[in-house]
Amino acid sequence: MTAPVEFAPWADPDAEPLIRFQGVTKRFGTFTAIDDIDLDIYPREFFALLGPSGCGKTTLMRMLAGFETPSEGRIRLDGKDIAAVPPNKRATNMMFQSYALFPHLSVADNIAFGLRRDKLPKDAIRARTDEMLALVQLGPFAARKPHQISGGQRQRVALARALAKAPKLLLLDEPLGALDRKLREETQFELMDIQEKTGTTFVIVTHDQEEAMTVASRVAVMDHGKLIQVATPDSIYETPNSTYVADFIGDVNIIQGAVTPEDGDRYSIHWAEGEAPITATCADKLEIGTRVFFAIRPEKVAISTERPVDRGNAVRGRVLDIAYLGNISTYHVELPTGHVIKAQTANTRRIARRDYTWEDQLWLSWTDTAGVVLTR
């Protein structure tokens, strides 16, 4: 039996990217929306562009669709420069944030719209439309108008319409933004399923980090028109390259300090007068005295009433606040130095039998490898 081959074309130097951004800059007047971006996206990837609003992620997507042209640099699709190709001649299709369903056309006519523009024979259009309706399970609603179906169904019509022409690249602009949480989670899995079934390359724009983490094979975190980090969801979460990424994805405690190298890749971080330094590992070589940020996720900080003996780092503090989220609780613990550290535990016992409460003194602890050392 062979192990399943991991899908990681970005790690393969021989892999041909489907999309290649080369030094792409986009300016609107004096405002730089995209600032000198290089990026490769590979066939069959589910690629997420993640960032706060105004970070340039939508502009990047609109350049792929052909609605914006780069001010500088080149965008290649399948090796060909697509700057001069208008949107209606590109092998890309887009699913709009507002869905942009044609209100005067039925669900089936919306899906068939792109096929009709290609002057396909009638029965071919019909067959493909039926196939798409089946894919998104909307067969019984084919004759309805967009205003006669629910928001979730409209979202699926928009997806089917964008997929109908079998594009090389499907662009999704905040596709699930208008759905409520439960439906959004279901639809995320449906999207992944459809992406796998059709083998289409998906590029999704979102500001929802959970969504990006769930669906994407790789995530690009953007800020102010620049790519901050491009990596798989787990490495974005576990090894962010900057405090910006660490802070943007999930919850994080950040402690500033100065490093002293120890043996191997271990460093001590002096973070407060009179407190024992934090021990952490870092793959990079750091000079003595370098200012660093130590970032650690709340769920990697353990809570105990006694000082643990088996963990490299332990600090004492007082419970300031408890956020009860049902399945987990987040404890905000204030250290004597004034730092507030968040620690998360799973609520495996009923709330009445909780071990810690407000004002309790307790120990926070973590291992040497639990956090990451960041220089920016």
Partner: protein
């Protein structure tokens, strides 16, 4: 139903009763009367002093011979037909001129839209008659238009525009343009522009996206604007009588002549009643369009 709601509904109904139904009944009554050399120039007149017998005699004197008369002279049905034709052509011309206006306004920068909207309405601030008279100055043989065309060398002889149907069309298109522009603008302005991007993304050129998306979505505005131009144009009197020639045949002019030149009030009233009946059809269609649009918006 409580009394306040009844009172609320009653107000528009009383308004309609006093200002539409009562005048209509008066006109209908005159149409059923006979012409007479008297003041007012028709008989019978209702004499309440004669009591029940007088009322009976009054109704016995009413007949439909004026309506019968309208069918004997082909002037009338030709005037009706010609009015409908002129109204239809003018509506089409207004649509052709007005749609680009509405489109440009709806696609203009948002800060500009109130200004553009005001510019469309602005001509209404001056008297309609003055504006029609100034068109006479523009369109006449020695008018500004001919002077301009002669000066540019496009023509060597002045064009005869005034007192032709062309002048009537120009006058109507000019006067009724806002009624076409505003409803179309309202539908275009509401349209989500990402629909056009979606159409382009799915393989439409800009022109076919316009025909396949913009035009169908502004259909309600086109229909509303067309009726708003068509309905009043059928009975239009001032524009054809000032700008049109002796050969411009419109029912409004016929009506005016019957009333004031011939002093034949009964026949004139009959003409007016038939005109109203003709207008009922497009008015019902217009109402149905409005209702359908409201339903579509849900």
């Amino acid at each position: 139903m409580d009394i306040r709601r009844i009172a609320l509904i009653l107000v528009p109904y009383l308004w309609l009763l006093a200002l539409f139904l009562v005048p209509f009944l008066i006109v209908l009554k005159i149409a059923l009367s006979d012409t007479a050399l008297a003041i007012p120039p028709y008989t019978p007149t209702l004499d309440f002093g004669a009591g029940w017998a007088g009322l009976k005699a009054f109704f016995a004197d009413l007949d439909i011979e004026n309506f019968a008369f309208l069918t004997t002279d082909d002037l009338y049905w030709r005037a009706y037909l010609s009015s409908v034709k002129i109204a239809a052509i003018s509506t089409l011309l207004t649509l052709i001129v007005g749609y680009p206006f509405a489109y440009a306004m709806a696609r203009a920068d948002e800060t500009w839209r109130p200004t553009l909207l005001m510019l469309v309405i602005l001509p209404f601030w001056t008297s309609f008659l003055i504006r029609v008279y100034s068109w006479m100055g523009i369109l006449s043989q020695e008018g500004y238009l001919n002077q301009l065309l002669l000066w540019t060398g496009l023509i060597s002889e002045p064009l005869t525009i005034l007192n032709t149907n062309w002048a009537v069309y120009i006058g109507i298109v000019y006067t009724y343009l806002p009624f076409m522009v505003l409803p179309i603008y309202a539908t275009l302005e509401r349209m989500d522009v990402s629909l056009l991007e979606a159409a382009e993304d799915l393989g439409c050129s800009k022109i076919s996206a316009f025909w396949l998306i913009t035009v169908p979505l502004s259909k309600a505005g086109i229909i509303a604007g067309s009726f708003l131009v068509f309905i009043p144009t059928i009975g239009e009197f001032v524009i054809p009588s000032l700008l049109g020639g002796s050969r411009t045949l419109m029912i409004g002019k016929v009506l005016w002549e019957e009333f004031f030149s011939n002093r034949d009030w009964p026949v004139a009233s009959a003409v007016a009643v038939i005109l109203l009946l003709i207008l009922v059809i497009p008015i019902i269609l217009f109402q149905r369009n409005e209702q359908k649009q409201r339903e579509a918006e849900g």
